[in-house]
């Protein structure tokens, strides 16, 4: 992610620092195709693993994050989700589906001038909690909403 890049850039040509970054897992070999794609985060099975990949501490539950999604999704292949954060200095919004094979579905970086608001459609394998994970002012917050799925979306 960007922060990691900045860190590595700061380290500059100092090999020892680079080696340190490498050994501590900041630089992941075989990173995905899209330059900044956070492979570890997208392979995380649950919120804890995703948080570890983001490098953040445990998130706090927040009422200032609003998830709009159907209570019952007839078709798990297309579940429309809207996330809106009312937290100050929201930097990024991530959407996790707790019971999907990999929890993290999508992550949005919110630059200054862009509303902390994102709409996306995701697949849900089964009835599960949606987790909206918001990074605001350097801290992580989350909110959950359960969506009942009558027809799973991951078997095609």
């Amino acid at each position: 992610m960007n922060e990691q890049r900045r860190l590595v850039l700061k380290a500059g040509s100092s090999l020892s620092l680079l080696a340190l970054a490498y050994s501590s897992g900041l630089l992941r070999p075989g990173a995905a195709f899209a330059a900044d794609w956070n492979k570890a985060a997208f392979e995380g099975k649950n919120l804890d693993e995703v948080m570890k990949a983001f490098g953040g501490s445990a998130p706090a539950e927040s009422k200032a994050i609003e998830i709009t999604a159907p209570d019952i999704a007839e078709n798990g292949a297309v579940v429309p989700v809207t996330i809106e954060s009312k937290l100050d200095k929201t930097e990024s919004i991530a959407l996790l589906v707790e019971k999907n094979p990999s929890a993290l579905s999508a992550q949005f970086d919110i630059p200054a001038g862009t509303d902390p608001y994102a709409m996306v459609r995701v697949k849900m394998g089964q009835t599960s909690n949606l987790i909206a994970l918001v990074k605001a002012g350097g801290k992580y917050f989350f909110a959950t909403k359960e969506v009942k799925v009558t027809l799973g979306g991951c078997g095609g």
Partner: protein
Amino acid sequence: MADPMKIRANLQADGKVLVKVLMSHTMETGQRKDSGGKLVPAHYIQSVTVTHNDKTVLSAQWGPAVSKNPFLGFRFSGGKKGDKLIVKWVDNKGETRTDEAAIG
């Protein structure tokens, strides 16, 4: 080459621009089997970037759980009617597509 994206960018009454993008992509998870019982290799969009006047107004990273033919919606401030908006995606096979639209 994937089909073009459908991009709508509308100036709202509050002065913000509401952007809606519909992309054309199979978003294959890599977990689905075809009729012969073989796994269909994963093929999905990993990153999406939207720029307005050379400024990134949204960047997203996606996993295979985003639905087929993905939809993306967001709002940003500072756009004017007629301004150009550029949307680009890159998928896990390195394929990419860039489309643009004017704010209306």
